[in-house]
Amino acid sequence: MDEVRMVRDSYPEPAPPTAREIARAKALLNDPPRRSRPRLLWGLGGVVAAGAATAVALTVVGGNTPAPPRPSGPVHLDDRALVLAAAEKAEQQPTGKYWHEDRIDGQSYIMRPKTGTYAITGATTESFAWWGAKRGMGEGYYGRDLPAHPSTARDAALWRKAGSPSRFRVWSSDHYYTYTAKAQKWQLDGPNRGTNPRGGGEFLGGVSAKDLPNLPTDKTKLAEMFMGDEEMKKLTGPKFADKGVTSRLKLMRVSALLSAPVSSQVRAGLMRALADQPGIHSIGQDTDPLDRRGVALASDDRTTTVTGEFGEPKAERGTYRSRTVIIFDQRTGALLSVQDEVTKPGGPYAEMRPGFIINYIAERSSGWTDTKPTPPAALPFH
């Protein structure tokens, strides 16, 4: 018996794919926004994958409190009015030949030195993508790993107290991992990276150049089109089709659409439509990981319990509550960030405050240019 056969024999025979799984995979191919779909999925990945990971690694104990606690920060106007005002201010963007979007995603981890517990942002990357206005003008996807860093000014103070380490050994799902404060150059290789000279004309959120002028601006029609029950079921499958997941998914869906060059009227309509959805609440002002303030909508919050089943150390175990938040620029109506925030500290985040950002996707910039866009050299932090 050789090792190859031993390996072969030692893997159990899995169940074949279900009819639903096959249909879902096929539906992905048949959807018209073909090129942008993976990016959309990637955007949604945060939600769907987080849901899947949760099912495996954690015990989820429901959610759906009608009035989740609000993060600190003054609220001057009626919360909902704020979001709607931002929607109105979504100004007409000038158009150009190339659309680009620069986004940053990151995940928080907890450092627990004797000098005081603080949070770092690790597993953080920046993705820069551009699309020609028309098919055949090309499209490109760049990415780079960003340095791990203390998450907030308060964390930075505690980090300095701990001797300003440049390596961070933290618990990550089911193992310890060391993140470093090293930056990477922009990469064009790897999954979801590279250029396609024949691409273009299709954008994030599954909209093509042809769709753009035909999108409705009416919030009811937009809600039907992008947040309808059928649409949501297609994305989640029945396994995740509870109300909490659906509202988070709608939020991600809108964020993907807002990353595309949709008109100001559509932008405003989408924000209004989202604000109307069940399970979505206006929460006033909030701050994103790039320290930008804006007005925010949030999903119901949900309870997560880390049981220690996957070897989590004691300090990581316990129960916390969190919600998904989308933040808009109050002046322009632009999308700033989608982030998961702690509403009731506990478990791994026991020493953090309400509003603590667990993970995020923030839009650093987006817009039209007449020349082919290139990613910015400057790092977004520091």
């Binding site: 190859v4 995979a25 089911d174």
Partner: protein, 185 residues
């Protein structure tokens, strides 16, 4: 694979999907478990669909091409794979994986992945693991693995040898048959 020539992805992707989806799903399910498999298989076919015009029949068969794409997509799920392997490694020798997770289909072989073997596979560098599992689980030849991963024939051989040596050591390396085989190269 006999009979009609395989469909060309650029012309009839639906046929490619119908012919190979279950097989690619099986490969993903073996490596990642049933939950991630559907997503990975779907992503692999989406990726393939996007690249269908770039498919070159001179370089590789459709099946090989798809395994290459699936392996790349799988690469984004390293943690899931490592977690699945570690979970089995913790069970120790001789216990079925299905005892650990009720999601595994009831029809799985009673044996499951032996603990030490799982641990050793989990510890392999990704390049070696991909080569080993394409040979062991997908039954690809060295030539096909080279085409699927875009590496040279020689690299396939050396990665496979290194992987086998590691596994052998992990399993105690006491089987005289294995030693003999090593001598024959």
């Amino acid at each position: 694979m006999t009979g009609d020539p395989p469909p060309h992805p650029a012309e009839s992707f639906d046929e490619v999907f119908d012919a190979y989806f279950a097989e690619i799903h099986r490969y993903a399910a073996k490596r990642l478990g049933p939950d991630a498999a559907a997503d990975v298989a779907a992503q692999a076919f989406l990726e393939a669909f996007r690249q269908r015009h770039r498919y070159d029949p001179e370089r590789a068969g459709v099946r090989t091409w798809l395994y290459g794409i699936a392996t790349k997509v799988l690469g984004r799920h390293q943690r899931t794979e490592t977690r699945a392997l570690r979970a089995r490694a913790r069970l120790g020798p001789g216990r079925g994986a299905e005892e650990h997770t009720e999601r595994v289909d009831a029809r799985v072989s009673a044996e499951g992945l032996r603990g030490e073997l799982a641990g050793a596979i989990a510890a392999l560098p990704r390049g070696q693991r991909d080569v080993l599992l394409l040979v062991a689980l997908a039954d690809l030849s060295h030539n096909e693995v080279a085409a699927a991963l875009g590496i040279s024939y020689g690299t396939v051989g050396s990665r496979l040898n290194r992987a086998r040596t590691t596994l052998r050591k992990a399993l105690g390396g006491t089987n005289p048959m294995l030693t003999l085989e090593e001598q024959h190269g």
